[in-house]
Amino acid sequence: MKKMLLKGLLFCLILLGAGTCFAEIKIDVTGAQSDPLPFAMPVLTDDDDAEITDVVINDLERSGLFRYINPAAYIQKMKGVDMRPNFNDWQAIKAQVLVYGSVKESMGKTTVSFRIFDVFAQSELYAKSFTADSSAWRKLAHMVADSIYERVTGEKGYFDTRVAFIDERGNQMNRIKRLAIMDQDGANLTYLTDGKDLVLTPRFSPNMKEVTYFSYKDGNPKVYLMNVNTRESTLVGNFKGMTFAPRFSPDGKKLIISLSGRGNSDIYTYDLVTKKQTQLTNHPSINTSPSYSPDGKQIVFNSDRSGNQQLYIMNADGSGVHRISFGEGTYATPVWSPRGDYIAFTKIRHGQFHIGVIKPDGSGERLITNGFLVESPSWAPNGRVLMFYRKAPSRSDGTGGDARLYTIDITGYNERQLITPHSASAPAWSPLLH
């Protein structure tokens, strides 16, 4: 019996072996192109009013990941949201993604309906309809752009967002700095302060209702908190010394700030509910520019405790401080990415400023742009794009010139200026609004 079983097993093994011999053709493909994705988008409205369409196209093109195909090339004329596309016509103009739909207005409401198609796979990717007050048509357009971006790239969009920044006017001797906010594409600019007091480093709260910033109000350099709707501002805490570099914790319940005194600066938290102050660092060196990780468990900051300014990470309670940057030059203004994979920073080396990113474990440092003065990086809510300001001197002695806001992809490509009416600096990107 045993022999029989053994023979049976042997036979089984032979058959199995024979079965596995029949391998199919397998091909490994490594590498791909990273060109902007060509997309077609006929005007959504029935009339020639293409404002909403233009905002959507502008959003997608500025991301650097999409390339709009001129409508003059379109073969099929799309009308309405329920028309079936002729894929051959769209393949002929090499559109990989097709977006079409309609805009309808009634009773002060605007409804945008649209469909997204993969032209070559000939499949519908997405179909949605948004309705809002007609006055919020730009928001509707940004939401459509976010939907397209998210469905095609798989990453969260960032078009329905706002940016807080410092608007600067006047000459160097009499500079007026005002706190301002606008849409991420530069529209709907609003000023929150009147310019009497110098303001710096605005930061949005996670719920977008408040902004914290540093101001020389009444000659007392401190951190303030402003309600965006009422424009009322309050002093943060009762710290002895100058407070600066504020940021919200991810849950919005705390502020983390730097307190300067006795020739050094340390990092504190301020509980917005209990008003409790907690000291996190206690070191004779400078410890500043704190920024929470997205989960709120860690804090990145810069310190010169090693002799020159470098990046450090500590736990949220101040324990476990360890250095993560070891490169040449000095590191400043670290900001943890909303998706957690990178920390953006400013680096000064060989008389040049650089914006770079580094992984939280200290690896993968990359400098993505540089200039005479590039400063204050701020992440888009999807962690793909950075905004910063760049200033080039107008005179040979390094003075003069305007500061301007720029966005850049974390790959280092697609650096684009954000148009502002005046000189602008210290941008802070808001979370996604919808």
Binding site: I25, D28, G31, A32, S34, G154, T411
Partner: protein
């Protein structure tokens, strides 16, 4: 008595054991038959069956050329009557006067035009014999690609009568004169001659085939070497061919740069290719709920279609042009795609 009883019991036990062993063997064979269907995953269901045919044929052809040739000639012989039947229809119209056949045919067409659409096509053949059979052949090729192509190509190039005549009389006529004169002068060594004759009989089909190949059956010889039906000794593409396809697909693949952990993303696809190299379907084998991966997988799938839209520059069309004999191997291609160069290992 007790000894006989023991013997009978022993015999009975032995017979029972034999029966059990037979049953067990059958049982194990049964398990083997179903075993593969259990283990096959979603994307491994179809290809093994297809590739099994190729590999078995390759093995036979590797050892000797004779079996496949013999099998093919048999196949041709079997197919021959079918060809004759088809060819008999076009043949008569040539010698026969044109007035006789076309006249009865048109009324038939008029009677049943919608029901038999194919019927009118063979009928005009006699009127224009050279052009119309080609049209038929093209149409039939699209419907039934593999088996019917070869005989129809022969029909296109050469008239069926000649092929049938060349194939059938050669083996009959040639051995006859060669064998006949030899035994006449040498009657003594009949055993040796009979042995030589038998050897010649075996050799001649193999030797005659290449000599007669250009005239009559060049295709059958090639197929014989390749293993009988189709496919070649190599069941896989060469590395350079794979590299060509990979680089082409890579150039068609447009990925959003800066995707988090892109180097760890491997999209597995199965591309179903038609015989002309066009892409019939692409399936994503390892789709995940992660939206970033989903977009990556969709872009990989799109890349295959984008490549397909290149028409003659499509890697699959190039494959169809250069390696048509390996269609059974590349009609389904499994692709492992990683957007970062050197990411797949």
């Amino acid at each position: 008595m007790s000894g006989l009883y023991d013997e009978q019991a022993f015999v009975e036990r032995e017979s029972k054991c034999l029966g059990l062993s037979v049953l067990l063997h059958l049982f194990i064979l049964g398990i083997m038959c179903f075993n593969f269907s259990w283990n096959t995953s979603e994307f491994e269901k179809s290809p093994p069956a297809i590739l099994m045919v190729d590999l078995t044929n390759v093995k036979i052809a590797d050892k000797t050329n004779l079996p496949p040739l013999i099998k093919e000639t048999k196949k041709e012989e079997v197919k021959a009557p079918e060809v004759k039947k088809e060819e008999k229809k076009p043949e008569p119209p040539k010698p026969q006067p044109k007035k006789e056949e076309p006249k009865p045919l048109p009324p038939k067409e008029n009677k049943t035009p919608p029901v038999k659409q194919e019927a009118p096509l063979p009928k005009p053949e006699p009127v224009k014999p050279k052009e119309q059979p080609k049209k038929e052949a093209v149409k039939v090729q699209e419907k039934k690609p593999e088996p019917k192509k070869e005989p129809k190509k022969e029909v296109k190039k050469k008239e069926p009568k000649k092929e049938v005549k060349k194939e059938t009389p050669k083996p009959q006529s040639k051995p006859a004169p060669k064998v006949a004169p030899k035994p006449v002068p040498k009657k003594q060594n009949q055993g040796l001659q009979s042995l030589l004759a038998s050897v010649e009989k075996v050799r001649k089909p193999a030797n005659q085939a290449p000599s007669s190949a250009p005239a009559s059956s060049g295709q059958t010889v090639n197929n014989g070497i390749k293993g009988g039906t189709e496919g070649s000794l190599l069941s896989d593409l060469t590395i350079s061919e794979k590299d060509l396809i990979a680089s082409k697909i890579s150039s068609c693949w447009n990925v959003n740069a800066g995707v988090e952990n892109a180097d760890k993303m491997i999209v597995e696809l199965r591309a179903f290719i038609n015989k002309d190299g066009s892409v019939r379907e692409v399936k994503i084998l390892n789709m995940k709920s992660d939206p970033v991966f989903r977009s990556m997988a969709e872009s990989a799938k799109r890349a295959i279609y984008v490549c397909d839209a290149l028409k003659e520059d499509s890697p699959f069309r190039i494959l169809a042009n250069k390696r048509p004999e390996m269609y059974s191997s590349w009609k389904e291609i499994r692709l492992r795609m990683n957007p970062v160069d050197g990411g797949v290992y």
